[in-house]
């Protein structure tokens, strides 16, 4: 990886996990790649006219339609007889994926387009100021699910987006974390080697929205995985392959470094509730290396 296809000089916040994640993806995919990008932080900070960070063909249309635009790109390339030589990637934030973009993604999966979809999951609508999305975790403080005398933050669990993707019968689904760059590269490579629709959901800390130190991005990302709150796994042709955790950590370690969970720390029941989510994940995906 000598030369990056995602030039620095964009306007992302310091420590933005999504900026690192996006570079990892495109540098792994290589120059024979076309990207359709939904509206969101990534699009905004990478393509402020007349500058663009992208050294591959890249198109932004709207907030919710990158999967349909990518379907069109794929169809165009097929018509031109060029599809086999070119990767098509659709990418978006968690809101553009799990909420407003869900119908278009489902259509793209069901039609079987040869497209890799990458969701950069920073667990809220960051571009518009940290509002909750369908992928915001339980009890997170966001600007539209604030904590208060009658609220502990977002009352609902994360939408099981990887399972929703897998339920379409697509050949490859994976979760990843920017805290594990080699794992990301491995999964992107594997995904691109498979024909058909693929889905990768990558956890990407957002220092602004999560209120953690901007030099803590990788540590926060790793803690999410090590606590079991962000399980890493693949569904290869429907078969579950977990990435095991060598030493599972209690969720407090993850919660205490982020302002968005600060309101939970003085509430043992709330912490217990979050620990139960981690325990469930560990059991469901078989994450415990010692078990």
């Amino acid at each position: 990886m000598t030369q990056t296809l995602f030039k620095p000089g964009h306007t992302a916040c310091a420590g933005c996990g999504q900026a690192v994640g996006a570079r990892l993806v495109i540098d792994t995919a290589g120059k024979n790649t076309m990207i359709a990008n939904n509206t969101g932080c990534l699009e905004v900070f990478s393509t402020k006219y007349p500058e663009s960070a992208w050294c591959v063909p890249w198109i932004h249309s709207l907030f919710e339609n990158c999967s349909a635009v990518a379907s069109g790109i794929e169809a165009g390339l097929k018509y031109l007889g060029k599809k086999d030589a070119i990767n098509v990637i659709a990418q978006a934030g968690d809101g553009g994926t799990a909420d407003i973009g869900l119908q278009a993604i489902s259509g793209m999966f069901e039609r079987g387009h040869d497209v890799l979809y990458v969701c950069y999951d920073n667990e809220a609508y960051m571009n518009t100021g940290i509002q909750r999305s369908g992928l915001t975790p339980t009890l997170t403080n966001t600007t539209t699910s604030p904590s208060g005398a009658g609220s502990l933050g977002n009352p609902r669990p994360k939408k099981p987006m990887p399972e929703i993707a897998a339920a379409h019968g697509i050949p490859y689904v994976a979760t990843a974390s920017v805290g594990y760059p080699q794992d990301v590269q491995k999964k992107v490579k594997k995904a691109l080697s498979i024909k058909g629709p693929k889905y990768i959901q990558m956890h990407v800390p957002c220092p602004l929205g999560w209120r953690h130190e901007s030099n803590m991005t990788f540590d926060v990302a790793k803690l999410a995985v090590e606590t079991g709150l962000y399980p890493l796994f693949e569904y290869e042709y429907g078969k579950l392959i977990p990435r095991k955790i060598a030493k599972i950590k209690p969720v407090e370690e993850y919660l205490k470094v982020q302002g968005r969970f600060k309101h939970l720390l003085k509430n043992p029941d709330a912490v217990k509730q979050v620990q139960a989510i981690a325990d469930y994940n560990i059991q469901k995906y078989g994450l415990n290396a010692e078990a």
Partner: protein, 393 residues
């Protein structure tokens, strides 16, 4: 070759001959026969195209957007609610300067739900930057599709073009159509070729974020292209006329008995046929009536209209749509156009007619005509059933 065909079938045939590489659409009455026809042609290997069956019109428009961005000619068609659902993408296609061609089978909009014809649907995307053409007959709809690809893909233009044809009246009507052969079409619509595309050897970024330092100029450039279209559309129409030996008007407007007309109807689409018959009747009674047909609604051919109305005393704008709370959209545009005529401007009245498929008869046009001699009206609904209104009170 002359054929007696259904409008939708004729459109599918002509679109096939324009050789789109990607077709994507979602079913809605009365557009369905067009895309079913194309699907069958792809299935029969008569048309070498990717036919993408999407889950919504929003995605149909997005698919043709993406495909067109790879430098491939595309086609889609919709109607009414489908166009409204597409609206966000419709604006985007124009803003991205992608010369998609779309047929709109014009239909009323909900609520109440109504599948019959009027032109309220297209008016919801009037301001999107698309070239908006209106067909009066099935033949004209066929011919406009050929011109649509030529106009939109012209390197001076690079904008999407919508061919509007009245739902059912034209889409399901039968007419003898002179169907251009594949060779003739190939001569007129040459392969699409552009450097403005997604290309791994020349990676472009499309769809930037433009801040206040840049945005207004980019929008102004679309407006400027529409000004240039006022000469480009007549060029294409003239070439069409030369090659195919048919076509009235100059591609922007068309007159019928306009030379000495004192009372002029202004209208778009199939209603112009009914108005022609009315004009004949008025003329037979010695009345100097005429018709000004608007073929291109965007760009709006202001100067041609002013010229065409220079002798008119009374103008009746017949809108098949309504900007609720305002006026008929064509009335508003036409009033703006004639305002430059100063004291010589004719008296312009506005009429709303035929919403939701209400029959437009010679009697309806007669009613409009009678209003003209009275005081000016700006939004007169024609043919309302007084008893229904009274009941609702």
């Amino acid at each position: 070759m002359k054929q007696f065909v259904e409008g939708s079938h004729a459109i599918a045939e002509i679109v096939k001959r324009c050789r789109p590489g990607v077709v994507s659409a979602y079913p809605i009455t009365p557009q369905t026969h067009i895309v079913e026809g194309l699907a069958q042609m792809v299935a029969d290997k008569e048309l070498n195209a990717q036919f993408v069956n999407v889950e919504s019109e929003h995605s149909a428009a997005s698919v043709v957007l993406g495909a067109q961005a790879t430098g491939v000619r595309t086609y889609t068609a919709t109607s009414s609610q489908g166009l409204l659902l597409m609206a966000e993408v419709v604006f985007n296609i124009a803003g991205l300067r992608l010369p998609v061609v779309m047929t709109t089978a014009n239909r009323a909009v909900s609520a109440p739900i109504n599948i019959w014809n009027d032109q309220q649907d297209v008016m919801t995307v009037r301001d999107s930057g698309w070239v908006l053409l209106f067909a009066e007959t099935i033949q004209e709809a066929v011919d406009l599709h050929l011109q649509a690809y030529r106009i939109g893909e012209d390197p001076r233009v690079m904008l999407p073009v919508m061919v509007n044809m009245d739902g059912f009246i034209l889409t399901h009507g039968m007419e003898v159509v002179d169907m251009p052969s594949q060779e003739e079409v190939d001569k007129f619509v040459t392969p699409y070729s552009t450097t403005y595309k997604l290309d791994v050897d020349n990676p472009l970024t499309m769809g930037y974020l433009a801040d206040p330092d840049y945005y207004i100029e980019i929008r102004y450039m679309v407006q400027q292209t529409h000004q240039e279209l006022l000469t480009i559309i007549p060029e294409v129409a003239a070439q069409f006329k030369r090659q195919f030996k048919r076509g009235e008007g100059n591609g922007l407007i068309e007159g019928y008995h306009l030379e000495d007309a004192e009372q002029v109807f202004v209208a778009m689409g199939s209603v112009c046929g009914t108005i022609r018959d009315s004009v004949d009747e008025f003329r037979s009674k010695g009345k100097k009536a005429g018709l000004l047909k608007i073929a291109s609604y965007r760009p709006f051919p202001k100067n041609e209209i002013v010229k065409a109305l220079s002798r008119a005393r009374e103008v009746a704008v017949v809108d098949k749509s309504i900007s609720l709370g305002g006026f008929g959209p064509l009335y508003t545009d036409l009033s703006a156009a004639v305002s430059s005529m100063g004291a010589k401007a004719p008296k312009v009245s506005g009429f709303v007619i035929g919403l939701g498929g209400r029959d437009i008869t010679l009697q309806s046009i007669q009613e409009v005509y009678e209003c003209l001699s009275g005081k000016q009206v700006d939004c007169e609904f024609i043919g309302l059933k007084k008893e229904l209104l009274a009941e609702a009170k």
